[in-house]
Symmetry: C2
Subunit: 200 residues, 2 copies
């Protein structure tokens, strides 16, 4: 039944939905797999949500896949205000945190309070990586660009002068979420080095 409260909540939800459309214009460093252009955060979020759906069996037993997917859909929304950070730029990564906290307050705060809290908690969980769900979600976020770069003869690694040692530091985060996906990523890095597509 439609009540005044329900209408008011719906209007806030619509406002939020219109606001997050901006995620389609936040551009990441990595490209689509055909190299035709750089990827945006919205399509990236969809992509790793799908990866979670089909790679769930490589998560530790008992992981709540639905929460992983929800986390992945939400994880980049703060970048609407804070922008995408290049994970190999350590100083930018440190600056980013305060910007992202403020972004989370503003954007999730467009929703009715109970929902704002729930989405904020999901995002905090993803960032803190203290649950198996968050660690698996982060593993997929890290794995995706490695798959693309490996497929594209090194892709953006050469452009940004990234070395295998740096990539392997990020692979550690994959292994913490899924040993199997971590081992797979190590194989991609080694193969890229062997083929001369990634500096050792």
């Amino acid at each position: 039944m439609t009540t005044a409260l329900s209408q008011e909540r719906l209007q806030a939800q619509i406002t939020f939905a219109m606001e997050i459309d901006k995620l389609k214009r936040v551009i990441r460093r990595n490209t689509l797999i055909d190299g035709s252009r750089r990827e945006n955060d919205a399509e990236h979020s969809w992509h790793i949500g799908m990866m979670a759906m089909v790679m769930a069996e490589h998560a530790p037993p008992g992981v709540d896949l639905d929460r992983v997917i929800a986390m992945l859909l939400v994880h980049d929304i703060v970048e609407i205000d804070a922008g995408d950070t290049f994970i190999y730029d350590q100083r930018a990564v440190e600056r980013q945190s305060a910007l992202e906290q403020a972004a989370a307050d503003r954007i999730f705060g467009l929703l009715p309070e109970d929902q704002a809290k729930r989405l904020r908690a999901l995002w905090d969980e993803f960032e803190e990586r203290t649950t198996p769900e968050a660690r698996f979600a982060k593993a997929l976020d890290r794995l995706a660009p490695i798959v693309v770069n490996h497929h594209n003869d090194g892709g953006t690694w050469a452009l940004y002068k990234v070395t295998a040692r740096q990539v392997l530091e990020k692979v550690q985060i994959i292994s913490e979420g899924s040993p199997e996906l971590g081992a797979y990523a190590v194989g991609l890095v080694e193969s890229s080095v062997a083929r001369g597509h990634l500096a050792p």
Copy 2:
């Protein structure tokens, strides 16, 4: 533990993940909310997945939200082969079905058989709209472009010579998934007509 079977399944899942990257290049008729460019299917799928997450309370009681979200992430993948169909082009809609069935066979068929079946069943469910979950998912798919066009002074409606009567036929599908969202959409259509942004 990593076994040969598990490795083989992972390789199939990675192949599928790389294949569906192409959804980022399937372009829809409607634009981003800022009108800067047309939207692609991947970012659209993310967007309505998020809408499901925050608008769940407007679904009929008992709807399994996680299945709604999974359906929405999967629902356009067949368009990688079959292309996007403009819902106001009735002849194209009829032609589309066989193309989409073949696309589902090919693309979901890249996955291990059990997963191919599961994703195919999700997509079939969405298309057939026989469950409350599918009807709610389809409602969100239909609502999103109406919100954008209403916000953009009629947006692409004028460009494609769409009338309020045609839009209201699509709104019927929204009402079947969520009476409340349907009523909201009717309001947007009436407001667009009243402001001269949509032909009656």
